[in-house]
Symmetry: D2
Subunit: 378 residues, 4 copies
């Protein structure tokens, strides 16, 4: 810990032009749990150096590559070297640094999707298990208080036996061939070398998948799916749809798309059981509609005393003051810090490497089902 | 026409315990186009007699069966006998009276779904063509002004080439085994002898199907689907899901369910093209969200002067005074009257027997795809 | 009654260019309670004749003036002459025909506001009382099922002692000087000779006023108000605002405006008591938000079994099928018919001449308070 | 600046039981502009010490009182002592520390309302002017991107001449006598010794007041108002309502209440001009409805490229990822930092002491108008 009691954090990725790196930095700092003290911010050493400078880091701890970083940090005295690393690179650079940092005894928090193939995912899962270190995957939407409330409603049995699960994540930002314009985000996310075999599937489909497994506590057994490359010349899907069956006997649909003009981050989840149902929309995340048999629909809202204790624990401010994307994201960092410190915490406080491996299997199953036109097991 | 210039209408079905018969009566009367003057309101002669009495009809024109009705009405002088008949019976009694009334020269307006098999549907389509009479099918949701606006937006090309179509119709009223309680609606709708092979598929799935073909002007080519009987002992589906491909190269999903507790008549349509998109929800039918590339989303509302002429033609009152289900339904009756009177009218002013036959094919294709677990052509 | 058991209705006003006359005709016909058989549709005999012809009425019963109408109808045999009259003229022609028709034994249903001065309003109230006839005033928004639910929630004491009442009715259609364009509605509604001293106050302010007294069951004691003529050259208010105190110790605000561009018929009511609150918006009239202390907000919706019996009695179709403006309006006609037939019915089933007289006093009090800049008793 | 280039910040107030102190700490840290290095967190020295300890501060810089703090910090070397102070005490302890810290050359950011009387407010305004230091007042709602967009829409003239301004701030948390339960927030906010003469007026009415002046750029000239103490025994208003006239010829209403059960932080603003209008709701702060004459209403959303540059500058993440209360609040801290560093920035980037003094005059005018029942100039 730093003098102030903060955990010392390093970062891999998140240099110029990145979007998610800046988000991670805002979130790790929000609750005062971490100090960012080291980083390899780009595969280009000069870019990494500049990013570190801009962040005011000690130049000695801004590295030209994650390989150098893991080596040099390991060599620092225990009370100086980083305790954890945040990996915010494109998908194909999750596996390498995760294994290296775990092996050297560092805790790891990594952006999603976990990696680009089931084989690599299994290797990462093994590495986590063998290391005894904490590994968290930033499926950040699980950090919303009302998603936690939804999870409690389902898992407590209040909604009865679950029958239907509808998940969707609709965006419009890739409706045109943005990757040809030099936009860095679009570029790597539509390049299978870097994103893996799933385009929209990896970028947003796995979020919807993770959210529905997180809330229901059931696992997806098999899918009947189709995927499309709508924009000519794009080598990965920009749209996918899947019907699915769950381990608890429920079924449902998952749709994701990046060509729905006007949709921003339209992640929605609806769950219906034998006693009630719920509906949630990420763009208005503090509202949770809860349906009951023969009673009026309820509108539950973040931070109200009538919520379950786990949902309340994720709020920072009184009801009616909207908590947003960054606060939800930061809840994962807060939980990661507590896990490192061996503090008690919520069940399923953050997505794990197992969740991540399931997400990769989801991508692969959808692709296979789409190719075959038939049901495929996860 | 009656003295007052109204068209003389008869009704088949719609006796005690029926829901949709009363709706049809409200709607045929709303704009003063029709007088209900005759009817065979039940297969039980006494119930038919009582219904006629309650409606204040001339007892001589309240018949014990539709067979009697078609025979007797045909025998009346031309200026007295009915000019059109409204068929509002359970699905298995659409085919018989339609053929008989058409054959005797009456115009027919019939509730949906058209009938219980493609074979019967084809026979009905032939009968309409041979009769030269008007046949309208009450897929009533096409009567909403904002659905007409949506149709104009798509067909005018303003949204560009259509890529995605998401349709859904979620209800909760059959989440329990209501049919065992004596509720008449639930009873026949879950009885394949009367409803046909589709349960939720016929009752609400065909509405969603019709709406999406109506708005896009494209036809559904094939489906990859699954259906479920969630409530134990129910012999027909109470839930279905389909991925589909359309004739214009777009694809999408259609979900329908009658076990989603808390959903009332959640019919929603979303369409996205290369230039924009739209979203509509039947429960708030006067709002249409229209998305554009690089411009704020618009909220278009019924009866405003900025709407297309066809959308404006379907409103009755100034903007801000909500038009509801009955007004939309009555728009089909108004269009039916105009067609009988040979007045010019909107293109696709009401769903036809061809649309109805397509709906039956949709039901059959979903069932077959669900059974096979593979794509099935419509 | 007519042969069909319907009540015979006449109409005063509602000729070419009128908006509300057509609404009344749709609504009196909706439930089959009334047949329109006579009318004096315009102060211009030729226009009246044409309107009658268009409506398919017997020319002998289309009159050149309401004075002729009342005289001739009174002379018809009892089983032929009208039983009730619907007065849908501009405000300055409510008092005259009301008194005449009542005096000749006809029931009267009249558009709002009641009349143009408290003195005339008192005379009308006396006339109703002396006549023993039914008089209904079409403050149509009281006909919405969820307004009835709101009323039951307040009057049953479930919300506790009422503290706050916020009412508003915002429109934008008179933001420009529409009355100079020949638009007939704008013309008479901004002409104090015909509308009376209140412009927006009479047209929409009285609706908001009536609604809040209807729902709370309390009466407005005094107002602190201001009114504005925003559009240059307009001789009546197109905007008004009032703070007020109620007889039950609550207070609140009422704002009405016709210059709020983009607002259509933004009639909203919010009521808060010591135990809960409610919020309603006319543009989405089937949704009622109900707040409770320490419990989630409820979303109550038209036609659901959990509603109070009076609210349920005002619905026509199952939940989720939106009921609109016309159905709410027709609920007043249905209640008027039941009252004529001496059937039991809801308490406060329709606004009365007393309610109307209170509305006129409200207009006058707001004007006086606005002129004086101080509190004025109603 | 600290080594990392951050500004060194101190805090007065914000100890145990406080709500807003923790918010300020989250917000000053969010963008990495400030390091909290010193504080006098409570008037109770032991509580101050404990708070400092919990925050990990150097005990030498945790002071028993703000008087000690200002003295000791002034004595530190320039490169160590704080550069700015955040004052987050109850209202009656804004004036004292502000004057003292300004006098000693520190920049000040202070919670609202400015202070408890116009006289003190004037003194504070003078002190700011004489000091040449930066003073910011945390009317945090002005930090929302869509409020900035609203301001641009009005001030650019796009909405035409403004006619109507409706502001409201409704809460329910003080519907019962919470101050008797030991809840610290309720306690001081309902104690005129600490809150000043306004209860709801100071706590939330000034927010609504500030927001409407900020967005319209006009000043409130006079009010016609009333205030109420609904909860028995409460010595300050828990509810107030004001009609008002603005310097630009517009008028409107402002309502605030803390007894509206079910309302959380219902701060809403509506503005209507001769060409259009806008509507905003703090509980869904990323949505701005914009109305236009003869065109559909627009839904503008945070972070979209079609927004004005100033609105865009206040967003941190891509569209569709909700920004909340903390991000808006932090925008004031970011602007405060930029002002200290003499960087160019937005016009009206944060509320000033002048805005604060106007807020106090607003409170006093409402109280006087309420007592007199007549118009009162601000």
């Amino acid at each position: 810990m730093t003098q102030s009691g903060k955990l010392r954090m390093g970062m891999v990725g998140g240099g110029p032009g990145a979007f998610i790196g800046a988000v991670h930095r805002l979130c790790l700092a929000m609750d005062g749990d971490f100090d960012l003290v080291a980083g390899a911010f780009s595969s280009d050493p000069e870019k990494s150096r500049l990013a570190g400078e801009e962040l005011g880091l000690d130049p000695a701890r801004v590295y030209p590559s994650w390989q150098t970083m893991v080596e040099k940090e390991s060599g620092l005295p225990e009370d100086q070297r980083i305790q954890a690393v945040s990996i915010v690179t494109p998908n194909h650079v999750h596996h390498g640094p995760t294994l290296a940092f775990l092996e050297h005894g560092f805790h790891v928090i990594c952006d999603k999707p976990l990696t680009t193939s089931s084989k690599l995912a299994e290797a990462m899962a093994d590495a986590v298990q063998n290391s005894g270190r904490i590994f968290a995957l930033t499926h950040n939407y699980t950090g919303y208080p009302m998603i936690r409330e939804a999870r409690e409603l389902v898992r407590s049995g209040q909604l009865g036996a679950i029958r239907k699960v509808y998940a969707e994540y609709l965006q419009g930002w890739l409706a045109d061939k943005l990757e040809d314009s030099g936009q860095k985000q679009a570029e790597w996310r539509t390049d299978p070398e870097r994103s893996g075999p799933g385009g929209s599937l990896g970028d947003i489909g796995t979020h919807a998948f993770n959210l529905l497994e997180h809330v229901t506590g059931a696992t997806m057994d098999r899918v009947l799916a189709t995927r499309t490359m709508f924009v000519p010349g794009r080598p990965v899907d920009d749209d996918a749809m899947a019907l699915f069956e769950m381990s608890d006997g429920s079924n449902g649909s998952l749709i994701c798309s990046q060509v729905c003009i006007g949709r921003e981050n339209g992640l929605r989840l609806r769950v219906f059981g034998t006693e009630g149902g719920l509906e949630w929309d990420q763009e208005h995340p503090n509202d949770l509609r809860v349906h009951w048999k023969n009673r009026p629909t309820e509108l539950r809202r973040t931070a109200n005393p009538y919520l379950s204790a786990p949902a309340l624990s994720l709020g920072r401010i009184p009801p009616g003051h909207p908590e947003g994307y960054l606060e939800a994201f930061a809840n994962l960092y807060r939980a990661f810090a507590r896990a490192i410190r061996n503090q008690e915490d919520l069940e399923d406080a953050f997505p794990t490497v197992i969740d991540g491996a399931r997400g990769v299997r989801f991508i692969e199953a959808v692709i296979r089902s789409s190719d075959q036109g038939s049901w495929v097991e996860l």
